[in-house]
Structures are given as C-alpha cells and as structure tokens.
Amino acid sequence: MANAELVKLEGVAKAFGAVRALGGVSLDIGAGECVGIVGHNGAGKSTLMHVLIGGVAPDAGRILVGGAQQTAYGAAQAKALGIRCVFQELSLCPNLTVAENARVFHPGVSGWGWRRRSAKLILDKLDEIFPGHGVSGGDLVESLSIGRRQMVEIARAFTVSDQPARLVVLDEPTSSLDEHTALQLLAYIRRAVGEGVSCTLISHILGEVLSATDRIVVMRDGKVVVADQTGAFDRARLISAMGGVESHAPRQARAQSAAEAPVQVRIRPARQPDGQELVARRGEIIGLAGLAGHGQTDLIVAAFDAAGRRGAAEINAPVALVAGDRQSDGVFPQWSIAENIAVRSFEKLKAGPLLSLKRERAFAEEWKARISIRTPDVGAPILSLSGGNQQKALFARALGSDAGIVLMDDPMRGVDYATKLEVYDLVREEAARGRTFLWYTTETEELKNCDRVYIFRDGIIVAHLARDELTEERVIHSSFAGAH
C-alpha cells in the first residue's frame, strides 16, 4: 500500500485565458498506489494530468517528484523520472510498426538487433497484460483496429528499458477496449501496483475506478472536492461528490406547449442499438448532454449532413450550425465581421447576380444591434473582436439565416458569463418564434435552458429527461457508466 510519496502537487493553479482550469490543487501519489481521478466535464482532470506529465506548466504551485522539487519540469524530464502517460487520443505513429513505436519510446534501444529487442520488449508486455492480444511486432499500427492500438499504447507505457516506470497515468484507457480486455487491464493495474508501480486512473466508468484504485480524488470546477480511500466510496457518494447540490436557477415557464407542434428533427445515433431516437419539435430547445466527446458532435454533424437529403433521418427545415471550435470550424479569419455574419445568407443579400455590399452591411448592422456585438465598425476584421463577440457573430450568422433548425456544437466554450446570459435570452426568444435548437453543451448549468435533454454515453443516447426531471445528479448518473 501507499508508503513513500512519489509525486506531490502543491497548490497547482492553471488558467487558460479567462478560464480557470485548476484553482489550487494539491495531490499526493504514493509509490505503489493507484489513484483514481473522477469529475464531470471541465472539472480539470485533463489539465491536472498534463501538469503531472510535464505537458502543461502550472501558473502557480509546486511539483515534487520523489521529494525533490522540480524546476523547468517538462515532458522529457517527466519521462526521465519514470512518469508516463497513456493518452486518450493515443500517441502512436500510424506509419510505423508496433516494434518501431516501442523504439520511439525507448531511446536506449538502438544498434544491431534493435528491431528484435524492441519487438520483444513490447510483445512481452502485451502478453503479460493482454494474453491472446493477436498483435505482432511487425504489424503497421495503421493496420490495427482502434482497440488493438490502445492495447499497444497501454503496454508501451509499462515497458521498461533504460528508464524506469514509476508512475503511469492512464487517461480513459478502456474507452476503446471491449469488456474482456478492459478487465485484463484492470487486473494488470492491480498487479503492477503490487510490484510498486504507481498508477493514476482517469475514467468515466465508475465501476472501474471503484474496483481498481486505492484512493479516489473527486474534482469539480478545477478543485479537489473530496479525496478518500476507495473503500469509503460507493457509486452514489461519487456521483453526489461530483455533482454537489445545485440551487436551481428559475426559468420562466414556456408559454405554449410544444407537445403538439410539428416534428422538425427525428434522428438516431448511428450506433444506437434500440429504438431510442432524438425528436425535436418546432420551437423546442433540445439539450445534448453527457461527457464531452461521447457522440454528441457526431449526431449534430449527422443532422447537418442529413438536411435536404432523403435518408433515415428526418430534418424538416433548413439548418444552420454554430460551431464550437471557433478557430477551426467557425470564423473566416481573413474576413470582416460583416462578411462572417452574412456568409450563410448571401442568397438573400444579392442584387441581381452579384452580392450587394450595401445590403450585406445593413444586414450585419442589424444583427450587431440585435445581439450587441461590441465593435464600432462591422467592416473591421473578425479577429479584432474578443472571443465572446466572435462567438456572437457566429450566432448572428445562424440566427440571421433562413434556418428553422439551429444546431449548436458546444458553442459557449471560452465565452464570458455576461455574453452567455445574453445568448441564452436570444436562444429562448428565437425558440418562442418557432425555431428549433439542438444544443450540445458540456456545461450542465446550460441544460436548464432546454425543454428536454438527451444524455449520451459511448456514442448512444442513454437517457431522455424532460425539463422537470432534470437535475445535475441525474445527468451525471447517466453520463457515468455503472460497474463493468
């Protein structure tokens, strides 16, 4: 069990712009201890993990490894100290073989016969963790299934050549594993911990965390809220620690009942095994909730693609999308604010065959006034706006269009609070006028603006909550899977 302290974080804080990801976190990881980290979206788990492995430098706080304070702590130093990570998005080179990928991880494996030694290193570990894995050293990683790639990534983090393995951070390691291999991994974690290797397990599957860890740290809003021996937790206590007790912000009841309004959207996630489908009626605001990256964006993109096409999905009005990743999917960085707002509506701003710049400008001015985009001139470049105001311009693009259905892909990321409140009002106002909203959000608070909420897990809808059934606890309860 936990004896000598291996890694100690003291008062670690980190902010990304205006967003505070970590607000003074202290964490001890003992040698030969498995610590579970759980928390809902934005709780700061992944930032904490990146601080641990030297990928992110904290703004404040101390990092101690083996009792020695670390200065200029970076990825290379963390690795030399024996701190490794299994990344959720995987860090294998797809164009290299399994053996070559092991070699990338071990600078000491070189010279004659490195291929054979490297293959032996990784295959021995694969045999140990995942007996019957079916991987060979000469396989190209890109030819392996995602599950096998994850097995290789996990095994690689535990291999030892010239550098020790003292702490292995596992970020959602079972997300691509089937039940059997996930169990193999959990059993191996217990064996490794018994041999003195420390592990940090970040998982949304509470049963895994409860069965494989010695201690559990619950995070919320960038802080550790509870840390205790695993035995002191059960599923219910974990969920209530993650969600806490929320006071419910009142929201004016919707005037008209939407139950009889015509259906605007009817769509099923591609992998949905049962008949559950997402239905949105005219004038409804539908929330898509659950942990980030569990299929919500995929469904929104599928709805966007299905618009105007004949297929299994039913989309009965033109659609507009408000992108969440502003920089890559939203703004045209070289264009003016006016052009960015008008691009979805060029058709109706035409004068003859050409675009009327006067009408484009008037259109942008109208929306600037309606949603108070803070700029003296809509002809200015879009990048002259703050992030929140850029996002408002993207809302203006969608709301100013002819779309009857507005798809929102977590659009409030990195937007300040005042702007959010303005946008919430706008969304409700537009819904009252008969627009339908599909709103994916990672902030449970925002779901209170929705009429109904669908909760996603592993790419499928696992729960459907009406407004009066919606509590943060219910959302968390459904987002985190039970015991395996």
Partner: protein, 325 residues
C-alpha cells in the same frame, strides 16, 4: 476464451497486409510493364548497351527522387530540388573542377544550408512549399550568376566514374541498386530512421517521447541536400558540361517518382526502393518508350502525365477497395 481478443478483427486485420503487399508491388509492376512495352516494340534494346543508353539519366533522377523522398518523409515538399540540382551542376563544373577543396567546401555548405532550411521550417512553423518555392529562385539565380551561359567542365574523375562500364550489369542498374539499398537501410532499418519516419507519422508522439523534432527536420532536409548534391554531380558527370537549367525538370519528376514508388504526401509513408523504381520507370516512360512509340516530342510531356495519372489511379483504387471491406 480470448485467443482472439476482439472478435471479427483478425479477418479484417489481414486485409491491410494484402493491400500493403500489392501497393509495394505496384511500382515494380509498372516498371515491368514499361520495360515489356519497350521490349515488345524494339527487342534489341534489351541488352547491356541498350540499358546503359536507355537508363543513362536514371542515376541523377533517382538521386533527386530520394532527395525529395527525405523531404516528404516529414510531410514537407521540396519545390527547389530541380533548381538546386542545376546549381550544384554549375558548382561542380566550375569550382570543383578548378579546386577540389573549394568545390568540396561549397558542396558541404550547400548540404548545411539545406539542413538549416529544415530547421527554419520547423522553428518558425513555415509551410515548406512556400520556403522551398522561394529557395528555388535563389538557387536558380545563383546558378545563372555562376554560369550565365552553358559551359564549364566536369572533373575528369567524375566523367570517368559516370562512364565506367562494369562487367555484366550496366552501370545505371548497378548504381540504382546500390543507392536504393543504402537509402533503404538508413531510413527503413536503422533505429533513428524509425524516428525520422515517425516525425512524419505523428510529430506530437515523437516530441512527447522526448525526441527533438528540430533535429529530425534538420537531418531530413540535410539528407535531401546531400542527395541533391549527389544528383547534380551524377548529372554533370554524364553531360560533361553544365547549364543553370540542367535540373529544371527534376522537381516534378522527383515528386512523381516518390508518389509512383508508393510514397504519400503526408503521414511519413515513404519507400526508398519504390522511389528508385519510380524514377527508373519515369526515365524509361518519359523518354525511351515515347520515342519508340514515335510520339512527337510536343506530346511527350502530356503522355508522361497520362502514364502518371494511370498508375496513381490504380494505387488509389487498391487503397479504397481495401477500406470498403
């Protein structure tokens, strides 16, 4: 249970291997087809002297193709290789011919300059297509400054090397085998070669594992420069004299050769042996085959492009059929 951990996957897992093998064979098959066509039209060229003559220019093209391949290993592209080869030809035919030391020093400086370009591209996160396009004008300008009109003289030893007639196997074939073997061993078999290819496959993973991406890029571009220098030397050894425009066609030929040989523009997927075969195929197809077919020179460039399109289309078709399974 669990001899097969993820059921249904083994069968699929075999697909890519089969595809990989077919894709690896494709360059060799296209070379065989072109050779077959030439042999069918004019069987007498399939002889020691026939090959020596037909593949005369294959060696510099193969070297330039490998130079391009090193740049493409790191997801970059070198649009200046042709102009660079032309410049090297001018340096070899002037400085190296007059003073071995000064010439050698200049050539080494050129390689170092290429490595510095790679470092610059990485450090400033510049698009290589822009940097190398700019550099192509620099090399071209320097070459014209050096030799405003065709002239100079290749060193005697270089001419002697390029016109050496080894027993049994024609020199271009022997040289191609040697070049391919060296590049294959260096990039595909050494442990640092795996890091260089990984830099193209997943740069983040390489950096996370503690490797310097700056060093990897500088080394890859340094290798591109080195093979560019070899290409220029081989070329001027064949022609005997230099001209600033000697390497002009090499940029596109080298890119085509890498792609024909099974390489990809992104992802660190390259094949040194395939690249050399691609260069040989293009040499034969672009000059000899079209000449034998009595295709007028006006149409040869277009015919060359058509051959390229056909081979690349076949490759894409094979890859996609595999994905659809």
């Amino acid at each position: 249970m669990s001899a097969v951990a993820l059921p249904g996957e083994t069968a699929r897992g075999r697909g890519p291997d089969w595809r990989r093998a077919l894709r690896a064979l494709l360059p060799a098959v296209s070379l065989a087809l072109v050779l077959g066509a030439i042999a069918w039209i004019n069987p007498r060229v399939i002889s020691y002297f026939g090959f020596t003559l037909m593949l005369n220019y294959a060696v510099p093209i193969a070297l330039a193709t490998l130079a391009q391949m090193f740049a493409m290993t790191a997801n970059d592209i070198d649009l200046s290789i042709g102009a660079f080869v032309g410049f090297i030809c001018c340096v070899v035919a002037t400085y190296l011919n007059q003073s071995a030391w000064l010439g050698a020093l200049l050539l080494v400086a050129c390689v170092a300059g290429y490595a510095a370009l790679g470092a610059l591209i990485h450090a400033r996160n510049l698009p290589s297509i822009v940097v190398t396009l700019g550099m192509s004008f620099v090399w071209q300008g320097l070459a014209i400054l050096l030799l405003p009109k065709p002239g100079g003289h290749a060193p005697i030893w270089l001419q002697a090397t390029m016109s050496y007639r080894p027993p049994y196997v024609p020199l271009p074939i022997l040289a191609s085998l040697l070049i391919a073997a060296i590049a294959w061993f260096g990039l595909m078999r050494t442990s640092y070669g795996a890091i260089l290819r990984g830099a193209g496959g997943n740069a983040t993973a390489i950096a996370r594992a503690g490797w310097s991406m700056l060093r990897a890029k500088a080394i890859l571009f340094g290798l591109a420069g080195l093979f560019g220098v070899f290409s220029g030397m081989a070329l001027v050894g064949i022609t005997g004299a230099a001209d600033a425009h000697l390497g002009d066609g090499y940029t596109l030929l080298s890119i085509a050769g890498v792609i024909l040989g099974g390489g990809e523009f992104v992802g660190g997927v390259v094949s040194p042996i395939g690249a050399v075969i691609g260069a040989l195929t293009l040499t034969l197809a672009s000059t000899q085959l079209l000449g034998f077919l009595h295709i007028p020179p006006d149409w040869q460039v277009a015919a060359n492009g058509a051959i390229l399109v056909i081979v690349l289309a076949a490759r894409v078709a094979i890859s996609q059929r595999g994905k659809a399974r």
